[in-house]
């Protein structure tokens, strides 16, 4: 198995991710649990990783909503004992308007300044490494030398920055500060 082709990755980055926050909020309105919502989103991305072409998708936003909705339904059906209300509620969630409103287009423009705030709010070492890696395009080896850390640390800090920024970008409250990383389940109890 390979990772998804380049043009799909770029398409998801520019056309799908900006709507993740809305899809998440929309699923939450159907009273789905946090875990269910995250699983549905992950499955939706799996489905997109299978796409060979995106030429037929004129509304990525509508596509994202529809895929999430279909997965939500499928999960309900697999549950054997199905809460009819859930079916009904997902059913009633209207894929409001899948054409982005003028406000959303404006929002895309102001996103850059929001991104800057998010980067500024990253933990110090994480921020410095992220800026060198993504903004200045400095090689990983070079960053490791300048910062006096191993390349693995550079990788992990960069990955952490990516996660923190993506989570804040997709947060339901549209929070402008990176959220704390949290662990749940087994690990949380062990530590």
């Amino acid at each position: 198995m390979e990772s998804a082709p380049r043009h799909i990755v770029e398409w998801v980055g520019s056309q799908i991710l900006p709507h993740e926050r809305d899809v998440r909020a929309w699923l939450r309105r159907a009273r789905m649990s946090h875990e269910d919502v995250e699983d549905i989103l992950q499955e939706a991305y799996c489905k997109m990783a299978e796409l060979a072409t995106i030429d037929h998708i004129t509304s990525p936003r509508g596509y994202f909503f529809t895929v999430a909705k279909n997965i939500a339904f499928m999960r309900l059906r697999r549950a054997r004992i199905v809460r009819i209300e859930s079916v009904d509620e997902i059913d009633r969630l209207d894929i409001a308007s899948d054409a982005p409103s003028p406000e959303q287009i404006t929002a895309a423009r102001s996103e850059l300044s929001r991104l800057k705030r998010l980067i500024d709010a990253l933990p110090e070492r994480c921020r410095r490494i992220f800026e060198m890696r993504r903004i200045q395009g400095v090689a990983q080896k070079e960053i490791a030398r300048v910062m006096g850390v191993t390349e693995t640390i550079v990788e992990n800090e960069t990955a952490k920055a990516l996660r923190l920024i993506m989570r804040s970008m997709a947060a339901e409250d549209g929070g402008s500060h990176p959220q704390k990383e949290f662990k749940r389940g087994v690990d949380a109890h062990r530590n």
Binding site: A4, V12, I16, Y45, I95, G185
Partner: protein, 338 residues
């Protein structure tokens, strides 16, 4: 550890983010490790796509290179020979982002005919602010002028949500049938000899080409057929209309349809055909809603509800009674496969 607990989506997300930011091209060893990691759990591929997409989208952060050279990263900014090129690339990226939102609208202005393949359902925002939802295997021609909005339904079925504009009537032609709207929502479906019209909002005028005097007014919840026959009969059936238009959400509403009817409906959308092998099964009535693109889930649910057998080939899904069950009277008479 003897056995690995099931990973949470967050643990997967964490690993995926590390893979996404790794410098490309990957080393041979990393290449193999990534492949193994992906093969371990089907969810991982989705998580990797999301992380890679986020990483790719963050390339627009390069636009910040000019204004955030103030802190931490400053020493490298001046010496890096790459920074100027990065700044220019970022400019292109930001423009693309703003333009992306408009892409859907622009497409229609330049494209007269648009259609869907089998199984595809497409929402099409039009330049006048109206929206067309195009069902499977359908095709429309759009002709927008300053005085008229003309749509020709070449084949299939389309639902229109029309933007109000009294100066530019919105007229759909479908074979001999004509439908005119001001600001309303309705669907037109081509059938032998004419077209079926379902109105979901507002009022539309419908008539047969060359017979304007027989025009009828249809209101929300009304349906009719415009064709060769004399004066059209109007039914008021809002709930039935709602179900019939479930395809707009990528669904088939089965409200009381027989299994044979439901199968025929699926077969409109999918290359893999559902075949009902027993006539007694074919008459069973069903309730519920299913995705148009998932005949497997549908046949699975049917098999469960009626205790039927499924045989699947490349081209078809055969649903039949279990042999031992034919004489069994325990089978329910009506299945609710919600």
């Amino acid at each position: 550890m003897a056995s690995m607990p099931i990973e949470t989506s967050e643990q997967i997300e964490q690993a995926a983010s590390v893979w996404a930011v790794k410098e490309r091209p990957l080393s041979q060893a990393d290449e193999t490790a990534l492949r193994d990691w992906l093969a371990g759990d089907p969810r991982r591929r989705g998580a990797l796509l999301r992380a890679e997409a986020g990483w790719s989208a963050l390339s627009r952060a390069k636009a910040l290179g000019t204004c955030s050279g103030d802190r931490g990263a400053a020493p490298l900014t001046k010496t890096s020979p790459l920074s100027r090129r990065h700044f220019m690339m970022a400019g292109a990226g930001a423009g693309g982002l703003a333009a992306a939102g408009l892409a859907g609208v622009l497409i229609v202005r330049h494209q007269a005919e648009t259609g869907t393949r089998m199984g595809e359902i497409r929402r099409l925002p039009m330049s006048d602010g109206s929206i067309a939802a195009i069902n499977t295997e359908s095709s429309i021609k759009v002709d927008m002028t300053d005085t008229q909005r003309r749509i020709e339904l070449v084949k299939g079925e389309v639902w229109f949500k029309v933007a109000k504009n009294k100066q530019r009537p919105f007229v759909v032609t479908a074979g001999v049938a004509r439908v005119q709207a001001v600001g309303t929502a309705f669907s037109v479906k081509r059938r032998d000899g004419g077209a079926e019209i379902l109105v979901t909002e507002g009022t539309v005028k419908a008539w047969m080409d060359g017979a304007d005097q027989t025009a009828v007014l249809l209101h929300a919840g009304d349906r009719t057929f415009i064709g060769d026959k004399a004066s059209p009969k109007i039914d008021h059936a809002p709930e039935a209309i709602d179900s019939e238009l479930a395809w707009r959400e990528g669904q088939i509403a089965l409200n009381g349809k027989t299994l044979a009817e439901a199968a025929a409906e699926y077969n409109r959308y999918n290359q893999i055909k559902i075949v009902i092998e027993d006539s007694s099964l074919a008459d069973e009535r069903l309730l519920g809603r299913f995705s148009t693109d998932d005949p497997d889930a549908f046949s699975g649910a049917v098999a469960q509800a009626f205790n039927a057998d499924i045989k699947r080939t490349d081209k078809a899904i055969f649903i039949s009674l279990k042999k031992s069950d034919i004489d069994n009277t325990e089978r329910p008479t009506s299945g609710i496969v919600n």
